[in-house]
Symmetry: C2
Subunit: 354 residues, 2 copies
C-alpha cells in the first residue's frame, strides 16, 4: 500500500522513546507515558498501523483539550471476589485498560475467574495488547470495548452501533499463543479510505452508500455511507452484545452516546470495556493444555489447503511474524507522519530523533 | 418451506408429554426426561425445528446403543469459588448443560461471576435454552459448545473445525431479553439440504464443493463439500476459540475428536461446553441496567430502515414472536415426522397422542 519512496523505516525503540517523551512533556506520569507508548509501538510492530503511533497526535490533542485526564483517580467503584466495576477517570484508555485486565487477572489468580467492567475510559488502541498480558500468567485473557456508532443495525440505515472490537489471548506451548483480535464491521473504514484514494473498487458487501444501496465505489461509501456488520446479522448481534457488556454492564455510555475522539477534544469519550481472565490451571493441568494447544494449532496449519493458498494461519500468527520482521528491520512510517512528528517535537520543545 | 398439506399442527404440551414419555420408557429418570423434553419442544416453539423433537429419534437410539448414559454420575472434578471443571458422564447433553449453567449461576450469586468448563457431554440441542436460565436470576448467561468437525480452517479444504454454536442471554425490563444464539458457519447445513431438495441455487459464499471451489449448486456442496465460516477469517477465528475454551479448557475432545452422533451410537461423543454467568447487580443497579436495555433495544428497532425492510429485530426477538404464535397455534410437524413418532410409540409400547 505504500511505495518505498514515501516511507521510512524507524527503529521501534526510537519510536517508543519519542512517544513516551511526548506524553511526559504533556504531564503524563512516567509510568503511564511509557505504557501508552509501548501499546502504540506494539500495534505498529504487529502491523496494525491504524492503531499505532498515528494516534499520538490525537491523544496529545485530547490531553491538551481536556478530554483526557492525566491525573484523575481510576476508582474501583465496587467489587466482589470475581468481579469489579471500575471508573477510568477519563484517563488514557491504555492506562485504564491495563489496570482493569490486571485486576481481572488478580481475581482469577485468587478464585479462578475474574471479570471487570469499566466505564469512563478513552480510546484504548489495539485491543490485543490487554488480553496478551494474561499470557504471562498462563491465563486466558479477554477484552471487549465499545466504540463510537459508525455501523447500522441489520436492516437499518442509521449509525447506531460501533465497529466494536474484541480480543481473546490464549497461551500455547512451543507454538505462539493464539490472539484473536477483531472488530464487528466487515472491514476497517481505513481500507475503504485507501481504496478511494487509489481509485480502486471495493467488494459489494462491505458498505452501503447514503441511500442504503450496496456499493463497490469507495468514494460513494465514504460520503455518508454506512459500514455493514461482518457476517450480516451475526456481526450485528455480536456488536450489540459487546455494546451491552461494556456500556450497560458498567453503567457508562453505549455507542450512540460515546464522544467522537477527533471532533470534541474537551469532553471525555466514556468508552467502556469488559475485561476477563481465566486461570487455566484451575481447570486442567497447564502442561496438558499447552501441548494440546500446540497440537490443535498444527492441525489447523497442516490441514489440506485450497488451491492457491500458501499457508493457513491461526489468529494472531501473521501479527507475530510481522512483529519479528519489524523488530529487526524497523517500522515503516509514511514520510508525512515523520514530518508531523517533527512538528510535534518542535511545538513541545523536544528533540526529534528521526 | 413446508406446504400445508404435509404438515400437521401439534400442541406443544402434547409433544412435550410424548417426548418425556419416550425418555422415561428408555429408563431416563423422570426429572431428566422432563427437562430434555422441555428443551426439545422449546426449540420447536422458538422456530428452531432443526434442534427440536426431530432429535428424539437419534437421542433414543444413542441411549439404546450406549453412547448416552442415563445414570452415570455428573462429577465436579475440581472447583474454586468462581470456576469449576465438570465431567458430564456422557449423559444427555441437556441434562449436563443445565447442571453446568446452574453451577455457574450459583458461583455468580456468591462471587459475582462463575465459569464452568464441561467435558464428556453429548449434543445439547439449541444452545439458547441454557443461558436463558440465567435470565430468571437477573444474570447474563453464556454458553459455548464445540461440535463435530464439518468446517474448514480459513484457506483450508479439510474438516477441522465444528460449526460451533454459542449463545448469550441478557435480561431487559419491559422489552424481551436479548438472546443471541448462533453457530460459526455461514449457514446451517440444513439450509443447503433444503435448497438441494427444491432444486434451488444458493449464494456463492456459503460453501465450497469438494474440489474447493465456491458453488451455488447445493447438490455439489452436499456431495463432499465444505461449510465456510461466517464472516470469512473472522468466523474461523471465533470457531477456533470456541473449540479451545470448550474442548481444551475442559480436557475433553476438540472438534476433530468428537464422535459423530449418528454414525456411532455406542461411543460417547465427548462434546464439551463452557458456561458462564455474571450477576448484573454486582456491577450496576439492576433497574438501571434493565431500563437502559429497553432504551437500547428501542434505539435499534426505531432506527431508520433500509428500503424494503419492514422491521429491525434484536437478537432473539424473532424467536420470542414465533414462540408466542406456536404456543397458541401449535407446532407444525411434517407428517413424516408424525409417522416416525407413531412407529417409535409402537416399538416402545406407548400411546401415540397424535
Amino acid at each position: 500500500m505504500m511505495s518505498e519512496t514515501n516511507v521510512q523505516l524507524v527503529d521501534w525503540q526510537v519510536l517508543k522513546r519519542f512517544s513516551q517523551a511526548v506524553f511526559e512533556k504533556l504531564g503524563v506520569p512516567q509510568e503511564d507515558a511509557e505504557l501508552t507508548a509501548d501499546t502504540l509501538v506494539m500495534a505498529n510492530l504487529r502491523g496494525v498501523d491504524s492503531h499505532g503511533v498515528i494516534r499520538l497526535k490525537v491523544y496529545s490533542q485530547r490531553i491538551k483539550g481536556g478530554g483526557v485526564s492525566i491525573t484523575a483517580p481510576i476508582d474501583i467503584v465496587q467489587e466482589t471476589p470475581a468481579s469489579a466495576l471500575m471508573d477510568g477517570g477519563a484517563r488514557l484508555g491504555q492506562v485504564v485498560a491495563v489496570k482493569a485486565i490486571e485486576l481481572a487477572m488478580a481475581k482469577a489468580k485468587e478464585v479462578g475467574a475474574g471479570v471487570v467492567a469499566v466505564r469512563n475510559g478513552s480510546h484504548l488502541g489495539a485491543c490485543a495488547y490487554f488480553p496478551m498480558l494474561a499470557l504471562e500468567e498462563d491465563m486466558v485473557g479477554v477484552t471487549l470495548s465499545n466504540s463510537l456508532a459508525t455501523m447500522v443495525a441489520w436492516g437499518g440505515l442509521e449509525r447506531v452501533l460501533g465497529n466494536n472490537p474484541f480480543a481473546v489471548a490464549i497461551p500455547a506451548g512451543e507454538e505462539r499463543p493464539i490472539v484473536l483480535d477483531m472488530a464487528c464491521g466487515t472491514v476497517a473504514w481505513g481500507k475503504v479510505f485507501v481504496a478511494a484514494q487509489k481509485g480502486e473498487s471495493i467488494p459489494g458487501d462491505w458498505v452501503l452508500d447514503k441511500e442504503g444501496d450496496p456499493t463497490t465505489d469507495p468514494q460513494r461509501a465514504w460520503e455518508g455511507g454506512f459500514m455493514l456488520p461482518f457476517g450480516q446479522h451475526k456481526g450485528y448481534g455480536i456488536s450489540l452484545v459487546v455494546n451491552i457488556l461494556t456500556g450497560l454492564l458498567s453503567g457508562g455510555s453505549v455507542s450512540t452516546e460515546i464522544v467522537d475522539m477527533y471532533s470534541d477534544l474537551a469532553r471525555p469519550q466514556d468508552v467502556c470495556y469488559l475485561m476477563g481472565a481465566l486461570d487455566i490451571a484451575r481447570f486442567v493441568p497447564l502442561e496438558q493444555f499447552k501441548s494440546r494447544m500446540d497440537e490443535l494449532i498444527r492441525t489447523m496449519r497442516g490441514s489440506k489447503k485450497r488451491e492457491g493458498v500458501e499457508r493457513i494461519y491461526v489468529p494472531g500468527e501473521k501479527e507475530f511474524l510481522e512483529e519479528e520482521k519489524r523488530r529487526k528491520e524497523g517500522i515503516p512510517l509514511p514520510v508525512a507522519q515523520i514530518a508531523e512528528f517533527k512538528k510535534m517535537a518542535q511545538e513541545l520543545d523536544l528533540e526529534a530523533p528521526f
